[in-house]
Symmetry: C2
Subunit: 189 residues, 2 copies
């Protein structure tokens, strides 16, 4: 029961941090959203930063767990990249606010958490880059600069965290298909 | 002479707004950067917002002027898209801070300037979209959702405004070639 209320608080905070920004969001705002006294919040969570940490690290962990899985797949680099692009889209369509907070509000983490978080991000990017480099080396991918390809891919899916709403006519499946088509095979026929 | 000092102030402000954010940047910071008394700034510019307006509208105008030119070119949709992608990259390699401020700090414009600015942006995106739609209709481009293609393109080049530094080993030409290659022809061989 207590766990459920805690989860409810974290979910509300995710929405609040996204809409108002972490800096401007107050525990009072959060208490109002959940419908309890501000003082009672502390029965469930320690601080505003504890919630930010949870959102950032839990979200980052989801990406890393899937990357572990994708790396181990017995498939070629193209299919690994397709799976990674689909993962990035799925993360947004599943948990847009958490992805937004993780990508934009992490800057408000204090040390050592900020460095820890950045280390996880850099590690993730390095492994994403390695998949691209393997594909270039074995001739599956074109000989472009691997860093340009990496950041083009990572950046290309970032609009979704702002644009995506479940009520849009364009669903998760079409997003996955069309974004993969453009980035892997190109828009030109 | 006065014009030159004014330009110097605007250039310093562009860097300041980018580094500190428009909200946190003060006229005192700006005066220090330029090396004059804060009160003297007002001989050259009216207010902090006047500078933000200048940066946003001047930068937006550069995109629109080039779009006018690209639309009128007697060439196919693919070459128009290539020219647009190159324009977005060139804007960053030429004036990274102004592009960053224009893309991120415009939110601080007050009305009616905010609405005017957003109207320019929407108009630009609509015309970019029309080029993609023409290309899909006449069979030059693949039948993906045109909005997905548009935002994937616009988003794909956004990392540059954070990442690009003139001292990087990767220059403007390679950026243009590799980004166009990935987005137009795909990373897969």
């Amino acid at each position: 029961m207590k766990q459920t209320r805690r989860e409810e608080i974290i979910q509300a905070a995710t929405q609040l941090f996204r809409e108002k920004g972490y800096g401007a969001a107050t525990m009072r705002d959060l208490a109002e959203m959940v419908g309890i006294e501000a003082a009672s919040l502390y029965n469930h969570i320690k601080s505003k930063e504890e919630i930010l940490k949870l959102i950032c690290f839990e979200t980052a962990k989801k990406y890393v767990v899937q990357l572990d899985f994708i790396e181990k797949k017995e498939t070629n680099s193209v299919e690994k990249l397709r799976a990674l692009l689909k993962l990035h889209i799925l993360m947004v369509t599943d948990a847009k606010d958490a992805v937004f907070v993780c990508n934009n509000e992490y800057k408000h983490l204090t040390e050592p958490y900020l460095s820890d978080f950045q280390k996880i991000r850099r590690g993730y990017e390095k492994r994403f880059l390695a998949i691209i480099e393997t594909g270039i080396e074995n001739g599956e991918l074109k000989k472009v600069d691997s860093a340009i390809a990496l950041y083009t891919f990572l950046s290309a899916v970032r609009w979704l965290e702002i644009w995506y709403r479940p009520e849009r006519k364009i669903g998760a499946e079409q997003l996955q298909n069309d974004v993969c088509e453009v980035l892997l095979s190109g828009l030109v026929k």
